[in-house]
């Protein structure tokens, strides 16, 4: 489906997607179109299929049925346009590597096997580190950094791929509260520079102040391009993290529609 306003093909288009593991469908009949400049936050409980959805979009898991297109291409081809920020927990935090080397990974591609990094690569790396305010830490080892600083480095690495779309899996897990806010502000700025963002999180408190639209994923997807969490989302049928919503939710999320 092309965007009714601009006539462009969607950055990501998912239709009737069913996916999961051997005996279990984690995702059922997912339909989702993400367009240029969107900043979509998906919330949902653990086990609701958030990470699985990202893996299908990245072509790491084959759908059982339905389709996923990135700029009209298969995930394996289209993922070159995606900057991926994986979930924090999957890393070996002891791995000896410098901040610079991590971000340089974003410059790798099959086209440049056998070729060393160029000056252009290095200046892109520096620029992205500047974006995330980590340039001063360029030569430090990743293992000397705090959780929030590491997350910035992974965002810089994703940006070094010159992505049209940024995909983030729980970007604020194991990050302290203040760093969370600054990471969301950073993402907001990146979005304003013209990068489409899809983020999954269960960090509802902050997410809603920065994203443009919000959806709820718990095996099925509830998303109609809303800015706020709707009553419908809260209905037990969707099983979104209601307790999270009930406790300490910023006013603006549940507020009436703004003007």
């Amino acid at each position: 489906m092309t965007n009714p306003k601009t006539g462009q093909i969607p950055h990501i288009e998912i239709s009737h997607l069913v996916a999961g593991y051997k005996n279990e469908n984690v995702l059922k009949d997912i339909n989702l179109s993400i367009h240029k400049d969107d900043f979509l936050g998906l919330i949902g409980p653990n086990g609701g299929g958030k990470t699985t959805l990202l893996k299908v979009i990245l072509g790491l898991i084959e759908p059982k049925s339905g389709s996923v297109k990135i700029f009209g291409q298969s995930p394996q081809q289209g993922r070159q346009h995606i900057g991926y920020v994986p979930q924090f927990a999957v890393f070996d935090n002891d791995f000896p590597i410098s901040v610079r080397d991590v971000v340089r990974m974003g410059r790798l591609s099959p086209k440049r096997l056998f070729r060393p990094y160029t000056n252009e690569d290095e200046s892109i790396v520096d620029e992205r580190l500047e974006w995330v305010k980590m340039l001063d830490n360029k030569n430090r080892s990743l293992r000397e950094l705090s959780g929030g600083q590491r997350q910035r480095v992974y965002i810089a690495r994703a940006l070094a791929t010159n992505p049209d779309i940024l995909l983030l899996d729980e970007p604020t897990v194991s990050v302290d509260y203040e760093s969370r806010t600054s990471i969301y502000e950073l993402l907001h700025n990146i979005n304003q520079k013209g990068v489409t963002i899809l983020m999954v999180s269960h960090d509802l408190n902050v997410i809603s102040s920065y994203v443009k639209t919000i959806g709820c994923l718990n095996r099925t997807l509830h998303y109609h391009g809303e800015k706020e969490i709707t009553n419908e989302m809260l209905k037990s049928g969707y099983n979104c993290p209601v307790d999270l919503i009930a406790h300490g939710l910023p006013h603006r999320v549940l507020a009436e529609h703004e003007g």
């Binding site: 790491l60 995606i82 994986p86 000896p96 990974m105 000397e144």
Partner: protein
């Protein structure tokens, strides 16, 4: 000392020490960082099946070891890539089967078999000219491949999913790495024997990664340490008339324990 160096077996042993250390430093670092220590142990022990078979057939045992360790690398690598559970069990089973095959073929081979022990426990003092050429070839291959694909190998070791999303040839790199582990096993076999290989492959890299931040530096320091351990162990063995593989491993092991204690009490070291 001068007299010592005039023996050709000693010259060969020292040369072997240098050549083996290079492979050890480079491949050992990748093994440690990629957490492939167990699989490397498996490959090493399975290679004994090839040694036994070669004895039985009357061909050069090194050929048998090359064939078996490459085969074991690919099989175990395949098993490890499966996301299903119990990979460690399967690798452990192959490990034991490989050894058992070696023992059976040794039983079936008539005549004197003391030589087989040298493959299990190594004997750096018995390294031949042919072994040295093989070591040189493996070194050239390992250094060539790692130099060519350094940034990609580092990327896949650190974060394979990201590398895959970048469409890097992750699986081909894995096969290359595991084949290099197989070949490293064969040349290390002559020096410390199949049973003790994992120690020499992993200890120098493990010590280096305690103190250094960059993979390249870890490879270099691991190479240096491996050389010190090998030569140190060799001299101990020579002067006290001990088994060289055991002295090499014990020197490494003591160094590792010392390094851990130092690292613990060192505030400026990376955690």
């Amino acid at each position: 000392m001068r007299e010592l160096l005039s023996f050709s077996f000693m010259q060969n042993a020292l040369l072997a020490g240098v050549l083996v250390s290079l492979t050890c430093g480079v491949i050992g670092t990748l093994v440690v960082l990629k957490r492939m220590v167990f699989i490397s142990g498996g490959v090493a022990h399975t290679a004994y099946g090839g040694v036994g078979l070669a004895f039985y057939l009357g061909v050069n045992p090194v050929l048998g070891a090359v064939a078996f360790s490459l085969l074991a690398s690919f099989l175990m690598g395949y098993v490890q890539r499966q996301t299903r559970q119990r990979q460690d069990t399967l690798i452990g089973v192959m490990w034991a089967i490989g050894m058992a095959i070696g023992i059976l073929f040794a039983d079936l081979t008539p005549g004197y078999k003391a030589d087989l022990m040298s493959y299990l426990f190594g004997s750096i003092l018995a390294v031949t000219q042919g072994d040295l050429w093989l070591m040189l070839a493996v070194n050239l291959l390992v250094i060539g491949v790692v130099t060519l694909f350094y940034k990609e190998l580092q990327a896949t070791a650190f974060d394979e999913t990201f590398a895959r999303v970048r469409n890097l040839p992750v699986d081909i790199l894995y096969v290359l790495l595991i084949a290099m582990i197989g070949l490293a096993v064969v040349i290390l076999m002559r020096v410390v024997g199949l049973i003790l290989i994992i120690a020499l492959l992993t200890i120098p890299a493990a010590i280096s990664s305690l103190f250094l931040k960059h993979m390249k530096h870890i490879m270099l320091l691991a190479t240096g340490l491996s050389l010190i351990f090998t030569i140190g162990g060799l001299l101990l063995a020579y002067f006290f008339n001990l088994t060289s593989s055991a002295t090499i491993i014990l020197v490494s092991g003591i160094a590792y324990l010392t390094a851990m204690v130092v690292h613990r009490n060192c505030n400026r070291c990376p955690d």
